[in-house]
């Protein structure tokens, strides 16, 4: 029976990496909550996961190889600006701190969830190897 790690771990591996990336993006928003002119950013996790698992293209067409691909080199993540709930706080900053904190906490939980799924897969593999 042909097996490889990709087929065993499924999309959990990509999900874990994307959750880590999203944690980084959100932490950046939180760090810049008081920076004048900073625009909050995020990415669509479900779309990024589809792109990462090869179900969907990035959606950006390049007419020249020199153009930026619009995605991160290591992960197919396309950052987008968050539309602020309220217009203008006066200094051009669009970070809504509470919503970002909630999103960060939620993302951290989801990361641990992906971690647990991966752990389960690896445990299963291990017990299959040991023949217990």
């Amino acid at each position: 029976m042909a097996m490889n790690f990709n087929s065993i771990l499924g999309l959990n591996e990509n999900a874990l990496l994307l959750r880590a990336k999203r944690a980084e993006v959100l932490s950046s928003n939180i760090a810049n909550a008081n920076t004048p002119g900073y625009k909050a950013r995020d990415f669509d996790f479900h779309k990024a996961l589809k792109v990462a698992t090869g179900q969907q293209s990035t959606g950006i067409e390049r007419t020249n190889q020199a153009h930026f691909s619009g995605v991160n080199s290591d992960l197919p993540v396309q950052l987008q600006y968050i539309t602020p709930f309220q217009a203008g706080t006066g200094d051009g900053n669009s970070v809504d701190l509470p919503s970002q904190q909630v999103a960060f906490a939620e993302n951290a939980m989801e990361y641990q969830m992906s971690l647990r799924f991966l752990n389960g897969k690896l445990k299963g593999l291990l017990s299959a190897i040991k023949g217990e």
Binding site: L16, L17, A20, K21, A23, E24, V25, S27, S28, I30, A31, N32, A33, N34, T35, P36, G37, Y38, R41, F68, N72, S73, L75, L79, L97, Q101, F104, A105, A108, Y111, Q112, L115, L118, N119, L122, K123, L126
Partner: protein, 138 residues
């Protein structure tokens, strides 16, 4: 690994906010400072935050931290007070005190303190996630 970058991002915010806490402490401490001329009077110090991009050309592609671009002096005119018996009074009997708005300073302090706490929490969470990841498969 993206989680490692969080330490850099949250750490940059921690140092920026501690600068803001420092300037606020300095402003509050000097709120009653007296001098003999308006030029020598203590001026409020206010840090200006700036987004810290590691890669200046391709700004949209990664997550930036924050840094203090500089500390600017407040532009409030010193308060002039007639007090001839004061040892630091000038020839006309005037002393000059710093024009610090304590309420504004308290608001800045709370903002910096909250932001510091939030970023510390972010770094702690990232640390926990990394530790869990290290025990993967055990």
């Amino acid at each position: 690994m993206s989680l490692y970058n969080i330490f850099g991002i949250a750490g940059s915010a921690l140092s920026a906010n501690s600068v803001m806490l420092n300037t606020t402490a300095s402003n509050i401490a000097n709120a009653q400072s007296v001098s003999s001329s308006s030029g020598d009077t203590y001026k409020g110090k206010y840090p200006v935050f700036e987004t810290l991009y590691q890669n200046k050309i391709n700004k949209t592609m990664h997550s930036p931290g924050v840094q203090v671009k500089g500390v600017v002096d407040g532009n409030a005119e010193p308060l002039r007070k007639h007090s001839p018996e004061h040892p630091m009074a000038d020839d006309d009997g005037f002393i000059y005190t710093a024009n610090i708005n304590i309420i504004e300073e308290m608001a800045n302090m709370i903002a910096a303190s909250r932001s510091y706490q939030t970023n510390l929490q972010v770094a702690t969470t990232a640390k926990q996630l990394l530790q869990r990841t290290l025990t993967l498969g055990q």
